[in-house]
Amino acid sequence: MSQQRVMVSGLGVVSSLGIGAAPVTAALRAGTTGIRQMPAMAEAGLKCQLFAPVADWDEALIQPGRSRQTMSRSTQFAVAAAEQALAESGLDPSSCDRERFGVVVGSALSGIHDAVATQAAGDAPGGASRSGVTSLVRFISSSAAGNLSARFGLRGRSQALCTGCAGGADSIGHAFELVANGDLDVCLCGSAEEDLWRHVGLTFDNWGAMPRETNDDPGAAVKPFSTARRGFVVGSGSGMLLLESAAHAAARGARVQAEIIGYGSANDGFDLFQPSGEGLKIAGAAALAQARNLRPGLRIAYLNGHGAASVIGDPLEVEAVRTVFAEDRPWFSGTKPLSGHAMGGAGSLEAVFTLLMMRQGFIVPTANLADLAPECSGVEHVCTLIDTPFPAAATWNSGLGGSNACLVFAQP
């Protein structure tokens, strides 16, 4: 089958900035942060006591209640976001060829709370039987993909792609390739992460990778590309997209929102903790080359950066922007000071943020960037809100384990 063009016909978001496109768009425009001070983190002795929980989460969003038995919190986030994406698209899964309707959902540590609780029950004297059985399908890595496939009767490929903090972008990218290559007509894709401050947060806190001096000022805690950058704050949530081949969307008269025109993915091949920047350049260059091939002459006007406020990573990321996007010189900003860093959920959340900005014609500035670090200069940092329509945008992420992935979206 020849290459198919791949459209985004719906999106959904569950995040610290809100649940649903409208509140999240408003929070992005207003520069509102979802980061909160957490007394429980202080009690546990963490030096950084900030976290970005999903705003106003209510598990009753997932109905029927009994269906929650097989869902970790992470999976619940993914299901809620996927239902938004489906509703936006106007697509009824039962009207499709469901053998050609797939799911790809990534996560860094899906269902870890259920895994820990199951082990704790089993560790208690005589407690083996108290752990029950349904926790198994809550903590397997493919829980979100499996739940979504069962929920909507989807019989196409159903996969979990786990590449750390690049997992969201990789999951969308992989789904893009499946639709582009003609393996699927439709795919729900994205990523999700539940509250991980007790797990990931502890280790990053021990590493000194989270800010320690701003516990009483959550909005000022994360300072990407600044001389005062001291790391990120852990967050949570899910972003989900409904991808559809252009032919499938046209056949049902769908109003598509965007087209995916590029995806690249690469590993640094260097170190588990420290990035080298090389994989990000390779992933970005591959995505950009594909985008230029599909839509020659189209300018990538905006790049949503990883911007983890990392002392080492931020300059490497900026160097990658200078190298990969030398021709386009896109406006460049990061949204983690607002949303927190949702680990495996970050890539899909930032893809959704990028799409919302492209849909509404604005670009969020990097918050807390009053004092740009010299080693992070030489790119088009966005320091105040820009109101303008733009034709195309990219987003990229880097993750532990050396993973990197980049996506390019265009107006349809």
Binding site: P64, G65, R66, Q69, A121, G126, S129, R130, S131, G132, V133, T134
Partner: protein
């Protein structure tokens, strides 16, 4: 909370059924639509709630809501 009320709360949570259906004569499988997986979860929930261990042969005899209440009242007396 009484044992019947605690049993009712567990069944309501696990099976997502109306309170009105949780009566002593209700069969877990036949009337409340519990699957084999649900039964394992319910037994585990009873063990956690009442801090007891329920042997397999006793668990197999818990067919109705009334069976469960009677067993738990006897075991925790």
């Amino acid at each position: 909370m009484s044992i019947p009320a605690r049993v009712s709360a567990i069944l309501k949570s696990q099976l997502d059924v109306d309170d009105a259906k949780i009566v002593p004569a209700a069969r877990l499988r036949g009337d409340l639509n519990a699957s084999s997986i649900d039964i394992v979860e319910i037994i585990a929930a009873f063990e956690n709630e009442f801090n007891i261990t329920i042997p397999d042969d006793a668990a197999q005899n818990l067919r109705t809501v009334g069976d469960a209440i009677a067993f738990l009242e006897k075991t925790t007396a």
